[in-house]
Amino acid sequence: MSIFSTRQDLDLIASLVPNGASVLDIGCGDGTLLRRLRDQKDVKGYGLEIDGEDVSRAVAAGLSVVQGDADTDLSDYPDGAFDIVILSNSIQALRRPDEAISNAVRVGKQAIVTFPNFGHWKVRAHLAFQGTMPRSRALPDTWYETSNIHLCTVKDFVTFAKDQGFAIKAAYGLSGSEAPRAFPPGKGELANLLSEAALFLLSRA
């Protein structure tokens, strides 16, 4: 079972979304997160998803979901169209995560980005001691089956956000079934070691 779409992951995202906000979930799958946000936070939810079957399920659940590719279609959305744009566990599978995140920050007043942290100690140890590609709750697939092509660490992401000129409003580390831990992005060394996954709340600087 992946660490994403677990209770603590979804609860953390929900806690960062204001009531009644308009939300775009990029790579929304069958709309699990959007449904939850709609039911709990009364959001106006929209989704972008590449898989047609997932889109059907989301539409059947009453969500507004557009079949499309986050790598190419985000430029279609107008500036500041949504209160919150979410990229949940998807940037590592995109051809150009940098462009997708830039678009998310442009299209949303704020953007929530979550990803598996390749700097987690177990990942480091796996590669160091076993010498094979790491597999974990956050990285469950074999190297040949995974859709992940752009993995990064917490430290990489902090540097990236700085380089791109994004403001990091909040950062959290997720590990096991523990409650998410907020960490000051300037001091991400420990979070980089201890977090299986991370969440960043970004905005335009």
């Binding site: 308009s22 106006k44 929209y46 047609g52 079957e53 889109v55 059907s56 399920r57 989301a58 539409v59 059947a60 659940a61 009453g62 969500l63 507004s64 979901v65 557009v66 079949q67 499309g68 279609d73 279609d76 959305y77 107008p78 169209a81």
Partner: protein, 435 residues
């Protein structure tokens, strides 16, 4: 019918009538002779085609609609048209499925495509074929008639009971022909809104349509946003592309090149330009299919023969199929209606030259936009244009590109994925309407 005016009417191409005044018989009795000469000429052109085969299908008081089939209303007020005039005595024919509830809150409007009509889910009274959307409309089907009251009107300009060029002009007591005003998709939608007013239906749970039906759906959402809770735009576009217009122009020219078209006045002779209309239909039909569908269905297979006949008979199955499509079409469609409706589609631009997103600004309607991968007539790129504009208007929109090799026609065929999506979308619309 004997023509009483002394001068032959100008022909559509503006050239002098080829059975013109120098032909001896014309000198004898002006009106009667004109009629005889023109029949002779037409018979000459159609050498080998018996006159009976060129006769038009019987026109009733309501175009090609047999008496007593479906329902029909006459609008109490003249219908204002985008062209600037108003059309008096407009009739709107329609068919319904399911039951209208007590507070009239369960209506779903279904808009038909170019060559379809109001018989969406009923055996057709002229062709005896199943309704064109029986896969979609019915008890337990995506447009569930156990729940919804489905209403499908024949479009303005059509020939199955709604006022069109084959209808009688109350001013002259003769069929309009080309004196019928050029109409638009907006005019069609306005006539449908007037029908709903007459029936006392204020709000629609949904408006649903494919191809030209999808254009009407967009127009509905743009012109009557408060009346439309949900809008399903299937295999359509927000405006006609040059390619769309080009194919329609080929069809229209085929109709007008048939001498039996008679400048649009063929009703007078009891004829109809069947050959021209059949060619128009054959061309259009190719655009409704995909290369893969043609390959799969026919390949290069020969029709009822082992080897090519070295002639221009229908050697190939695909030729035979198209000829059949053309021939069977002319009995249920009026050639002038084909001209007028294709024109309305060509003029269609829901943004009216402006910004498409602005047209939907502030809309509360929920949209579903659907395209099919192999549809090259209304390709996915056109649907995406609509979706982009709706995003710009902050509208709630879902979009799915359905994988299908059946071309544009896919929206009429067995496409389970598409049916599931439409069902889910309408389920939600029904739920939100409190049904």
């Amino acid at each position: 019918m004997v023509k009483t005016s002394g001068k032959a009417p100008p022909r559509g191409d503006g050239k002098p009538s080829p059975n013109g005044d120098d032909y001896p018989i014309c000198l004898l009795a002006q009106g009667f002779a004109y009629s005889v000469a023109r029949r002779w000429f037409i018979a000459f052109i159609h050498e080998g085609t018996p006159l009976a085969a060129r006769r038009s299908a019987p026109l009733s008081a309501h175009g090609l609609l047999p008496e007593g089939e479906g329902q029909i209303v006459t609008l109490p007020e003249p219908l204002p048209l985008d062209g600037g005039t108003a059309l008096p005595g407009v009739t709107v024919a329609y068919d319904t499925y399911g039951t209208l509830n007590a507070d009239k809150s369960n209506a779903v409007l279904v808009c038909h495509a170019l060559t379809a009509d109001q018989f969406a889910a009923r055996r057709h009274p002229v062709t005896d074929k199943p309704g064109w959307w029986e896969a979609i409309i019915g008890p337990g089907k995506p447009i569930d008639t156990d729940r919804f009251f489905v209403l499908c009107p024949n479009v303005l300009g059509g020939c199955m009971g709604s006022t069109g060029p084959a209808s009688i002009n109350p001013k002259t007591d003769e069929p309009y022909g080309l004196s019928f005003p050029v109409i638009t998709i907006g005019d069609m939608v306005r006539s449908q809104a007037a029908l709903l007013d007459l029936l006392g239906i204020e709000d629609l749970v949904a408006v649903v349509g494919g191809s030209m039906g999808g254009m009407q759906v967009l127009q509905w959402a743009a012109d009557y946003p408060k009346r439309v809770r949900a809008a399903a735009v299937i295999a359509a576009a927000a405006q006609h592309t040059p390619q769309n217009i080009a194919f329609h122009e080929v069809g229209r020219q085929a109709v007008m090149a048939d001498p039996d078209w008679a400048g649009g006045d063929y009703y007078r002779e009891g004829l109809s330009p069947k050959k021209g209309l059949a060619v128009a239909r054959m061309t259009a039909h190719v655009t409704y299919l995909s290369e893969a569908a043609l390959e799969q269905k026919f390949g290069r297979n020969l029709q009822d023969r082992q080897a090519p006949a070295f002639g221009f008979d229908a050697d190939f199955q695909v030729e035979s199929y198209l000829r059949h499509q053309g021939k069977s079409f002319v009995d249920r469609f009026d050639a002038n209606a084909y001209l007028y409706i294709t024109r309305a589609m060509d003029y269609f631009d829901v943004a009216a030259g402006g910004d498409l997103a602005t047209r939907f600004d502030g809309t509360q309607t929920k949209f579903l936009v659907t395209s099919f991968t192999s549809d090259w007539l209304y390709p996915t790129s056109e649907s995406r244009r609509i979706v982009r504009a709706l995003h710009g208007a902050r509208a709630a929109v879902s979009f799915v590109e359905v994988e299908s090799d059946k071309g544009h026609d896919a929206f009429l065929l067995h496409e389970p994925h598409f049916h599931d999506i439409l069902r889910g979308f309408l389920d939600t619309a029904g739920r939100e309407a409190g049904l």
